[in-house]
Symmetry: C2
């Protein structure tokens, strides 16, 4: 975004947000939804889902007075701008007053929506409807206690020249073709989407047009490949939604956590596995002949590298969830009033030391690294780890349903996609995330499959 | 655009078009505009411009019944799809029935807007408000008679290895940097815009954010450079509009012809001149060291290459306007009923032979080459040549006002931009195109400056 047009773009976004809000809260529409909700027993199950979810969303929106909505969006816009400067200057004090206001505002928002429940519960539901703080905390506590010993083992392990397998010279044009074919092999339909480039990879859907982005590093094949697979996972979910229900809750993604489960399943459960790479090797050799000298074991070591690090977005699969759990605990304490904004940096450091055994040398690489809190997104972080938890559960269930060696055979990827389509994609918002996961996997959200997956990975990494 | 989402995108565009139409014709808004128009004498001159242009636009819109608007947009959508196939298959007969309907529909549209004037006059004004068919035809007739002898001289001239000066190896990354600096030197403000890549270069403005695109050919520097300069010309106009009048006619571009005059002025009058290249050479040598062996004369020969060709969008500066005049004459005859759609291909061939001395071997490289008619855009083509006509007039006037050697000196480009800002950009729609040009140049639209510019170019090309 050119710097000189940021204000104009903010006004455009504000104008569109006001239009959306106007339509969402138009009396004629709201009255119809209320009327339908009062007669929900007369509806078909599909209609009932649409009415239930629409009413739930509208009730949250209309609980907020316009003045509060405006104040909130102004504070977020200011805080984001301050955050950019504060991060660059490593100056937490500059951001702190804005975080204080954001915490207060989010408490007020939660209290307007439902004064009878804990504020964090209400905020969490914005991003993960149906999830409760207690249930999430139970899963995260168990996961944290399981992960800390794994991280300690990582720290004890000797450094191996693991990454060398996928470092070298990989011309960007070849990578573009290679990544497109990989995305296609996973099942992405390029007649209804594209793969382009962006500084920060993301996926966006315009109607039914799914746009993936990735980014290339000429010297490291992993950089683009795992962004592409991750975004393809999001894209497969979007393309797999029920097109007959387009524009309604039944045709929309279930939650942020479930969305992330789809990207993580393909990225981590599939994309870093031995069977996936065994099938991918001929294609990789075709585009990058020098890879012929790299063994499968070297490749797997490279794509499964793990060590504690400071920056969440660069964290590996083993350590990533501890970054999230830390943020979940801190933001929950902020909202409850158990932690003051001024004490955030110290508390951040303490928990980094306890969970990951390392401490950031400054706030830039610590509490200032993420845009979420300055954007007012409190309750968002847990959805990342819920995605990892769901992904491991879904992968185990799919494997059990399909038979243990189906994935390793030709057509395994499309069998997996087919299973996900039926048990996740086509369901839309028919069930909320915890129930969707329970129906698909036979178990409420639990971290056991994820922990076992990571333990197995660690055994591989520790093998001589 | 991925092929599988074309229908969905068409529905989205339709929904937005309906929203715009709803707002434009909302009774409360229309009544206010009518009221203001009836009291125009009480307004400031600036307010009067906004009311005059807004009322003129609304009157055109509300003259059309919704059924006609819908039929028209459906026919255009169908015709464009048929055109893609028809062009690929070189099958004019497949497109012909759609063109027959489009001609009928445009006649009806014109008659709804103003039944008392010739239909083509009414259609032309959609794209070039204030222009009359008679005035345009007078300029074009004179231009055609002046150009045909120039084209004959081109055909008689011996082939020279002119292009070799800018063919070779020009790495795309270096070109990206080079083109950005060129755009910046012309005055484009990158804090309020970007230069990106697209298959078909274009410029679009989102609020105040001006996005230019270009395309690179590693083997020919001209390919990107002249797209970039052309689009920069459009971008400078957009960035030069009166920001205090943003969102009103006074802060909007005057017409398509005036917009094209800005792109053509920088592309042709500036970008192919000796003085521009003299100043650009050090930069070119810095990015492309091999160019040090190419003389300025060779470069000028390469960027001013001219010869009759079949495809409008690839035509050079000398022959381009004959492509447009041919289309203007044919579409005017279609609307008047002097030419049947079935006779279009034959008439196309006849005029190509007369004007350019060459004939297309098929309709694909003839009457099927442009998307305009299948899109229902009748009256659009003339704005391209009006742009060239205006550009030559403006350049001559600017040179006269600034002093004959100002452009050749340091700061010449910014003096020229400053002059254009004052005489064109900041005026917005204060005057309609013919009056804007008359005020800026002291003369109604006339082809003499353009003809003299091209005659001078031909003398250069014919020099031994």
């Amino acid at each position: 975004m050119p710097s000189g047009v940021v204000d104009a773009r903010a006004r455009q976004i504000g104008a569109l947000a006001a239009l959306v809000h106007e339509h969402e809260t138009a009396p004629a529409f709201v009255e119809l939804v209320d009327e339908l909700a009062s007669r929900i027993a007369e509806l078909t199950p599909a209609q009932a889902v649409d009415v239930r979810e629409t009413k739930w969303r509208i009730d949250r929106v209309r609980a907020l007075e316009t003045a509060l909505v405006r104040e909130r969006s102004e504070v977020h816009a200011q805080a984001r701008a301050v955050w950019i400067e504060a991060r660059a200057a490593d100056n937490f004090a500059a951001l702190a007053p804005y975080l204080v206001r954001i915490v207060e505002l989010e408490r007020r928002v939660a209290s307007c929506i439902d004064p009878h429940r804990a504020a964090y519960d209400v905020l969490l539901e914005e991003y993960e409807p149906g999830a409760s703080t207690a249930a999430v905390a139970a899963v995260f506590d168990e996961l944290r206690e399981g992960l800390i010993p794994l991280v300690e083992r990582l720290q004890g392990a000797p450094d191996r020249p693991a990454a060398s397998g996928l470092r070298g010279h990989f011309p960007v044009d070849s990578q573009r073709q290679f990544n497109r074919i990989v995305s296609e092999r996973l099942g992405f339909d390029f007649s209804r989407g594209r793969l382009d480039e962006a500084v920060h990879p993301f996926t966006t859907t315009i109607g039914t047009d799914v746009r993936l982005t990735t980014r290339y590093d000429e010297h490291d094949l992993r950089y683009a490949l795992y962004s592409t697979i991750h975004e393809t996972g999001h894209g497969l979910y979007e393309q797999g939604l029920d097109s007959a229900a387009w524009g309604t809750p039944r045709g929309a993604a279930c939650s942020l956590g479930v969305h992330e489960s789809q990207s993580r399943l393909w990225e981590n459960q599939v994309g870093r596995s031995e069977w996936f790479w065994r099938a991918l090797l001929p294609l990789a050799h075709q585009f990058f002949p020098a890879m012929a000298t790299v063994s499968l074991t070297q490749i797997l070591a490279a794509v499964n590298e793990a060590r504690p690090s400071l920056i969440r977005t660069e964290a590996d699969e083993v350590t990533y969830n501890l970054h999230i759990i830390l943020r979940f605990e801190l933001e929950r304490a902020l909202i409850r009033g158990d932690l003051a904004v001024a004490d955030l940096p110290a508390e951040w450091t303490t928990r980094m030391r306890t969970y990951l055994g390392i401490v950031p040398p400054n706030d830039r690489e610590g509490v200032l690294q993420d845009v979420h809190w300055p954007s007012g997104a409190i309750g968002y972080f847990p959805t990342y780890t819920l995605g990892n938890v769901y992904a491991a559960q879904l992968m185990r269930a799919a494997r059990a349903a399909l038979g243990s060696d189906v994935l390793e055979r030709d057509g395994g990827l499309s069998a997996l996609l087919e299973w996900l389509r039926r048990h996740v994609h086509l369901c839309g918002q028919t069930h909320r995330a915890p129930e969707l996961i329970a129906r698909a996997t036979g178990s409420e959200p639990t971290c056991q499959p994820l922990l076992e997956h990571l333990q197995q990975k660690l055994r591989f990494l520790e093998a001589p």
